[in-house]
Point group: C2
Chain length 227, copies 2
């Protein structure tokens, strides 16, 4: 057995092959209409082989969701290395996911399927996806890391931007405009607005508002207490 990190043992290859076949079929025919038998057929293995590598059909989507996150990290890392401009960095982070899922809209919808079921492993707000969520917010934190920000904003903004991204992602799925242009424009506009609010939030007049909002979110356990 390899001790180094060559990622392609025999099994890894089969798994990856099944994964690719599944995504192809999902993209062409949608998630529900694609049967596990279809996937097995295309991958030229037995149905149970698919279950050996993925505990369920939805687990394939979870794997897709993870790979999506990794791809986003690559894209962002490239941009972060290239520019120090805050707006560009944030914009790249925000829309990178749109570009990645452009042709996977049928697929991606399934990621939201268990939003309302806290204990489900694929709940996009639950424990099973906590790690993905963390990595996604870290990207926003990195986009912001060159700025001097008050501590509370520094804590709040990545989460807020992640929420914005998730919301826009849902809208992206419903957007019938060419290339989802409408959602992309809204993303750009929301970002402008956020940046404007960021500077505005520092004004003394708005200090009480800002404090109020933050304490509200803290009480709701949406952001952790400062230590």
């Amino acid at each position: 057995m390899f001790k180094n990190n060559v990622p392609t043992t025999k099994g890894e290859q089969t798994r990856s092959h099944i994964f690719d076949c599944a995504l192809d079929l999902f993209r062409d025919n949608g998630f529900d209409p694609t049967t596990m038998q279809d996937i097995a057929n295309r991958a030229e293995v037995a149905k149970s082989a698919a279950y050996y590598y993925f505990p369920s059909k939805e687990a394939i989507i979870q794997a897709y969701y993870e790979s999506l996150q990794s791809q986003q990290e690559s894209l962002c890392a490239a941009v972060f290395a290239e520019t120090k401009d805050l707006k560009k960095r944030l914009h790249a982070t925000l829309i990178s996911k749109f570009d990645l899922v452009q042709h996977d809209r049928k697929l991606l919808g399934v990621v939201f399927r268990y939003t309302g079921e806290p204990t489900h492993p694929l709940s996009c707000l639950g424990k099973g996806t906590a790690e993905i969520r963390r990595r996604a917010t870290v990207l926003f934190a990195q986009a912001l890391e060159l700025e001097r920000l008050p501590q509370d904003l520094q804590q709040l903004l990545p989460l807020a931007l992640w929420s914005l991204q998730m919301g826009l992602l849902v809208m992206f799925l419903y957007d019938s405009s060419l290339g989802q242009k409408r959602t992309r424009q809204l993303a750009a506009g929301s970002l402008d607005f956020t940046l404007k609010m960021m500077t505005l939030a520092r004004l003394p007049v708005l200090k009480p508002v800002r404090t109020k909002v933050l304490s509200l979110l803290r009480e709701a356990d949406l952001i952790p207490e400062l230590n």
Copy 2:
């Protein structure tokens, strides 16, 4: 056959009976673990009888969602008749759904199951639920109708408040605090904040911001153009 609106023909009774049994089982055991056979057994009919009245298991949830909306309308109508105080009216509208679903949290999660799939009949943002959505926003419009509001805000606010309610409803499902107290407090706090922003939005200083936000949402087709 009755021409008047007595709602209980033989069939209506069976349907209603199946519906009640299904909800009982869903509440006790959850949606997925409850089988159509279980429902039929408890209702003392054949499985196919259940399918005669509901085209699918999920259709039962859709019926639940509709009945929920009707119940909310009753609750709100009572409050609206009783008080002209804006905050009270809005607060009642906002939290009435929490009270109604307090013991149906397992159930309600399924309503969000197709959020990411625009064409699914049970998508809570899709066509199949458009009527429910309309009725829900109308309630907020009614809560506001005693106020003198600029036209654009009058158009925007019901939708914004509905979104807030949907978001809080999801949080409600994840909230493990006793009686979902945390979410209720966040609801109250958000409402305070919204009211504060409503008055703030009228200040001349913020006019451009307000215009910007509105035009952004119009371009995104989230609110209709003014006619």
